[in-house]
Amino acid sequence: MAALVIAEHDNASVKGATLNTVTAALACGGEVHVLIAGTDAAGAAQAAARIAGVAKVLHADAPGLNHGLAETVAAQVLAVAKNYTHLLFPATAAGKNVAPRVAALLDVAQISDATRVLAADTFERPIYAGNAIATVQSLDAIKVITVRTTGFDAAAASGGSAAVETVAAVADSGSSTFIGSEIAKNDRPELTSAKIIVSGGRALGSSEKFTEVLTPLADKLGAALGASRAAVDAGYAPNDWQVGQTGKIVAPQLYVACGISGAIQHLAGMKDSKVIVAINKDPEAPIFSVADYGLEADLFTAVPELVAKL
């Protein structure tokens, strides 16, 4: 019995979500291997070899594996899948894109967003926007799983010394081409791994106000910025800041919700945060039902005051 973690990486280093996925893979009980599929990704392979608990790194390198196109990456995973009982992907945009494709090609079901490993074939996962937790048992020989990274601690990024084995890379599928990307640049902590998140909703009123009011607070706390769907749809914040059922799932030490009412879909993305603070004018806002500390006040006065007092 062995588990393969399909790493998320940028060719030079592995991304944080991979470390949480390694912890989930170790919980499945067998040896843990990591697959680095990329282009000139020796750096990422070396980084994966240093992760504590990893027994072996498989390194597939070819130009066609750049940008993680689902068709090619799935074929690459399939090429090595027969040696494993578990294939684990982080439940990120990249992992969710590829994992079901791999599962279908193996003719097995896939388990999405696992939050706990109860046994090698039994997992917990949230359904209905996190309003229920299902305990599910896979009846297939190979378990294909995406791992909710907030459900597992990160494995130590150093201390391991796994062997790196080069595996043959598959050919590019040719049916899909990467054209370009617009990745937002910011020097803040990454939303999904931030210790503190300051999040804004529709009450901010405009993108200028969003930046003007929330940025000083985020700077002061060293926090990442998040947003509700209403704020994203209204254009106050970029798409990839959205926290919720269909955006990012976060679980920081401190989550500060400013002008967010607290719809079911938003709560699904943040209710596992350790401490939740809500600042809202409306005493009836559902966000107060999950907040550890609620402040009933106008955020335009309360937030600057908070910044001043920190």
Binding site: P100, I127, A134
Partner: protein
């Protein structure tokens, strides 16, 4: 070009579901059901492609109980031309649905299949990718912009950190993200017209698909409850509590 749009009947997104006390599932008896919000976006996108002259026919498909016919009527009221219901009273998991859809793709030969990125009940986010794999088609998931020209689709996707653009060869599978479009409201005349459109009913056995679940649900429970919080009177108290009680700053 024909466009196939799979739609799912789910508990309405505004309903807060309750877990059954015996742990067998959530209580969805007498709860309002609607079309999965991402599927509405998928139907809307197909209709817009037809309005642009790119698509010639839109076929809506749903798999599940008899009542899914209502969901298909809604799709036809938005603008789908006809509908197919794969009627099945048993639990259908994404792999089974993907196999049913694959059989329909073989039969209908669509140029494009547009699905929602995930259903808000099982929160799986699998079916589109699985269909693409089984049908041997390229995929573009989490689409926020779609342009079709010369046998290719140029798709902008929402990924962690920003956006990326792919060019995929048709036929292909696309799954919709929230920002792809704003679905239109259905009008009364269109609801009346939708009643006259064709709705074909088939069974999984007619398509030669085994829909036996591969994942067994052992238990469905309540999520852990959060302890009751407190309201603080002012900012100073809040700062004090965060520093000295919660010790998070």
């Amino acid at each position: 070009m024909k466009v196939l749009v799979p739609v799912k009947r789910v508990v309405d997104y505004n309903v807060k579901v309750r877990v059954k006390s015996d742990g067998t599932g959530v209580d969805i008896a007498n709860v309002k059901m609607s079309m999965n919000p991402f599927d509405e976006i998928a139907v809307e996108e197909a209709v817009r492609l037809k309005e642009k002259g790119v698509a010639t026919e839109i076929v809506a498909v749903s798999c599940g109980v008899t009542q899914c016919q209502e969901t298909l009527r809604t799709a036809m009221a938005i603008g789908a031309d006809r509908a197919i219901l794969v009627e099945c009273a048993d639990e259908l998991q994404p792999l089974a649905v993907a196999k049913l859809l694959k059989a329909l793709v073989d039969k209908e030969q669509p140029g494009l299949v547009i699905l929602g990125k995930q259903a808000i009940d099982d929160d799986c986010n699998q079916t589109g990718q699985m269909l693409a794999a089984l049908a041997g088609l390229p995929q573009a998931t989490f689409a926020s912009k779609v342009e079709v020209a010369d046998g290719f689709a140029s798709v902008t996707r929402e990924v962690d950190g920003g956006l990326e653009t792919l060019k995929i060869r048709l036929p292909a599978v696309i799954t919709t993200d929230l920002r792809l479009n704003e679905p239109r409201y259905v009008t009364l005349p269109n609801i009346m017209k939708a009643k006259k459109k064709t709705l074909e009913v088939v069974k999984p056995a007619d398509l030669g698909v085994d829909v036996t679940p591969r994942i067994k649900t052992l238990k469905v429970g309540e999520p852990p409850k959060r302890g009751a919080g407190i309201k603080v009177p002012d900012v100073a108290t809040l700062v004090d509590k965060l520093k000295n009680e919660a010790k998070v700053i």
